[in-house]
Amino acid sequence: MKPDLKSNEFLEVVDTYKGIIYKVANSYCTNNDDRKDLVQEIIVQLWRSFDRYEDQYKQSTWIYRISLNVAISFYRKQNRRKAISNPLSDSILSFADTSPVSETETNLALLQQFISELKELDKALMLLYLDEKSHKEISEIIGITETNVATKISRIKVLLKQKFSSR
């Protein structure tokens, strides 16, 4: 594929699934600067893996796998190595919402805080559950059996209910 065509196709994919990238980065990084770096790193790794995308899996599965793998590995880096020589000064993804804070926003903030407090793999599972992914897709992303997914989702549901009841 010609470089420009490939690049354009890649950008279309990123634009289509930018919500996934943003949600993963937001869950794994509470600090703004770190989040910006993480989004950049996720997109870098998506670009590197673009040629190796296998269409036996959905594109969203591929995006989740890479985003989650990069996010979980991100905190373990000794130095925040920049994969490109000049880090971008502006964010790749920005959120333009200026609506006033409502009760929904407060509840959402609570939910996001709860997610950020979870362990790394539970965080991934929670994101996939909230995005209403099927057990099959969760199994393909995380790498556990569908039966194991069902057990864990039951636990997550109980945990969620407990957390909100205690607030």
Partner: protein, 219 residues
Amino acid sequence: MENTDIINLWKAYDKKLEENLILNRKNAEEITRLKVQSLLSSMKPMKIFVIITGILWVLFVDGIVFNFFKIASPFLIGSAIIHVLLTKLAIGIYLYQLILIYQVKINETVLATQDKLVRLKSSTLWVARFSFLQLPLWTIFYWNKSMLEHGNIWLFAIQFIFTVSFTAISIWLFFNFNYENRDKKWFRNMMSGIEWTPILKSIELYREIEEFKHEGVPQ
């Protein structure tokens, strides 16, 4: 709040993201024009360098042992043999790490990728543990027949204290330099100036992975 309410809350958030999240296409495009490395590329050169240097060193010491076996002091030869064996173990670990680096695929399942990454990071602790076992050798290698025949009681006493202390310390460190002791003051003092946090976090994640894999699976 019921779980259905929570799911609806998340759906509302999703809708908001769809409406308000903006991709800075220019910046994203810049990434596609540059040569970018994989997550682990930066580790390869150092691993390869250490392996090559280690192999050359081992060949050199093996050469000395082979050529001077009959004439050199048995303490020197014995120390060299143990040193080389431990160095070979360390080289083996580096090779294992290099193989893992080549095997890691960021587009595999989360557990498959993270499992390899944590093994890669946490195996570094083993290199340190094998290095500690070499400590007593540095108190023995220079012994020779003349020293044993003509040395006085004080020399033997001092040597004995050094060798026994270093042996005890090296064995103790080999067994205790591990994740369980990460919060101990001596561990933190030893590790000051070295970035061990990523390694310790890798071990923590390794345990989480094991727990995650086996949760809900009948034993």
